[in-house]
């Protein structure tokens, strides 16, 4: 079938501001949007800039606005979309070229929540730490995050205040706060409880809709809010 695309293009060396360009390519209905972009790049216009790698929704490279929604280009089939399919970069980050945005501020926020297991006790020798399946389940959902940025860039609170740490970073904090092995919960309070922390979340649920891994982001943020309210993340007395 013929598939029409409208892509928001921006070349920093030539363009003052982004402009739309239209393309048409021959595709199978079951092809991914990413296949269409690759066809355009390979056959029609080699100057199209986008990031992509795994092409099946696990690496998080190709989040973009597709028909106005944040989606991974490799996880949506062309047959499911009305045409022309409009493609834009994610909102709220600086556009570096076409669909490529500056992810550094996003990763800076990720790093700010200390996204790693904080250990105080010695590691056990020649064996694993024990963790019950029930304790493992408490943070299962937030381990799925692939850091694609779809949630953060769909969040009105983030658009209004780019300093907001954002849903993705809170998801990462949740993954450790609710891990029974983590011993540094209080180290994340300053960022999460601060003026640009979790309280900026207005439970709009855009993030839940945007997450390509099906993480219940708003629920995770709610659990972090509750833990902060109850003082569960305060330093041990």
């Amino acid at each position: 079938m013929d598939v029409k695309f409208k892509i928001l293009r921006f070349d920093p060396d030539k363009d003052k501001k982004p402009h739309w360009e239209s393309y048409q390519v021959e595709m199978e209905p079951t092809d991914r949007v990413l296949d269409g972009l690759e066809l355009i790049k390979g056959r029609v216009d080699g100057t199209l800039g986008l990031r992509r790698s795994c092409a099946h929704g696990v690496c998080g490279s190709d989040a973009m606005l597709i028909n106005g929604k944040n989606l991974l280009a490799c996880k949506v089939l062309v047959k499911s979309l009305p045409q022309p399919i409009t493609i834009e970069p994610m909102r709220g980050f600086n556009v570096l070229r076409d669909l490529i945005v500056d992810m550094e501020p996003f990763f800076a926020k990720y790093r700010a929540v200390k996204p790693y297991l904080i250990e105080k006790d010695e590691r056990p020798e020649h064996k694993e730490r024990l963790q019950s399946p029930a304790d493992r389940e408490k943070f299962e959902d937030t381990t799925k995050c692939i850091l694609c940025g779809a949630c953060t860039t769909s969040c009105p609170s983030f658009w209004a205040n780019p300093d907001y740490v954002g849903p993705a970073a809170i998801v990462q904090a949740h993954r450790f706060i609710f891990d029974s092995r983590d011993q540094g919960k209080e180290e994340r309070v300053e960022v999460l409880d601060g003026r640009d922390g979790v309280w900026r979340c207005r439970t709009v649920f855009n993030c839940v809709e945007a997450c390509p891994k099906g993480i219940n982001v708003t629920k995770a943020i709610g659990e972090v809010k509750q833990a902060l309210s109850k003082g569960e993340l305060d330093p041990p007395k």
Binding site: D13, G46, S53, L77, L130, C145
Partner: protein, 575 residues
Amino acid sequence: MATHQFDGIIVGAGGAGLMAALQASKTAKIAVLSKLYPTRSHTGAAQGGIGAALGNSEEDNWEWHMFDTVKGGDYLVDQDAAEIMCQEAVEAVYELEHMGLPFNRNADGTIAQRPFGGHTRDHGKAPVRRSCYAADRTGHMILQTLYQQCIKQGVTFFNEYHVIDLLTNNGAACGVVAVEIATGEIHTFHSKGVMFATGGSGRMFKITSNALTLTGDGMAVLYRKGLPLEDMEFFQFHPTGIYKMGILITEAARGEGGILRNGSGERFMERYAPTLKDLAPRDMVSRAIHQELRAGKGVNGKDYVHLDLTHLPAKTIHEKLPDITDFVETYMGLDPTKDLIPIQPTAHYAMGGIPTNSNAEVVIDEKNTPMPGLYAAGECACVSVHGANRLGTNSLVDIVVFGRRGGKAMAQFVQKAALQPLPADPEAPARARIDKLFNSTGTEVVARIREELQAEMMDKASVYRIEADLKKMLEIIEHLKKKYESVRLIDHGKKFNMELLEAFELEHLLQLAQVTVTAALARKESRGAHSRDDYPKRDDANFLKHSLAYPEGSGVRLSYKPVSITRFQPQERKY
């Protein structure tokens, strides 16, 4: 032009590169370069698990794991290296857990384990639960966990830097040259140690589970410098790729009880591997599927068979195989609890690669002489722990064990080694490569050459091979290489010029395909993943040896070196 100086450079930020970085950066000044963001690396796509004889669910020991690895690799495995890997796998898994990896757990809180292809109790008696897993996204968890630890440790990263040349001087490695993708600027990284951990080259085939970025860059960069590649004729086809797309459906689907069925609904693996059945090693299952297809037993006369999970409890599928459930729903519109899944073998893993010893030092000749300061680990390397066919889960074992050993070895090396001076005009070859592409007046297009290469390699050099096809394939590669000489870029910009990057990648794929086919043509036997229709038997008398391929003129020169055999003498391989 910019020059950076470090003790050690690690190229690639998947599991092997990050593990090496964690080790080496404890005592040395290390930088990690990746053409991607680290969390985009393909380690994240590994699904089913990491094998280690923890014995949490039933009796197991590393020697059984080693036996399975050697037999699975059709006795081409270097047994000294396999012994190290299977022994150290156990501590490596504990270390990953200590770093925070969220493994699934048993009721007693220990790491959960499940069966996997070719992993057996007591030298082949029955399947054993050895694969330690985190649902069906074990690789994602490993990649995330290692990257988290790198952040904690403050490891230095240069993200989106594409390495296109290795620098050497006085017979030792002394750095790399990279293109900064965001700006197009060329950077020289001057160092005492260099490690390549750049992953595989599955994109030389049309149907592959590999990321679009898996173009064998590390292997090709070294090969271009005249260094050899080992056992490149051995490329694994995973039996269960999603039909036409190649997206991986983990072997854990069969580990959890899934069954392969042909067009008439028959569980055909019972005929090919009476003991392990659907959990036979990947090379055997992929061949069995092809034989069914050749016998006209595909589904509806087409070139696929079915993976059947419909008899499994929906809870098992949703809890232990959630990602593949998502893939099947997203890409095929099917529900694996109710529908049969159309699958075909998909190009999955390069057993061959940059020859190394068990400290991940790159060795450059038949006598295993190391090049000072040069290391390789993970899929781009050939230790060789996978021999002619890798067992499922052993890729993750490999990256963790040899990434760590390589990182340690490099850290020790840079403590005592002197920094070699840079060669004169270190960026000249890289600049010449770029200028040639930008100044070309030809008419050829990168994407079209790549498509032709992928389709022809799939047709002529995949699961089954025969002399006439391989010879024809070499001619096609010659032709495509000529076309590549006339490639013209439409994009002449500097910032995020992805067309330039893809041109380098295509050149790498063409070179590696030529090596693969040349080595496959010369290996007149069938062993592991290398199956010759015209030489259907394994031939230990003539071919129990590793191939080494060197560039020579526009062609390939082959040489061979012996296999390390310590505990297990070659036997007939039955399951």
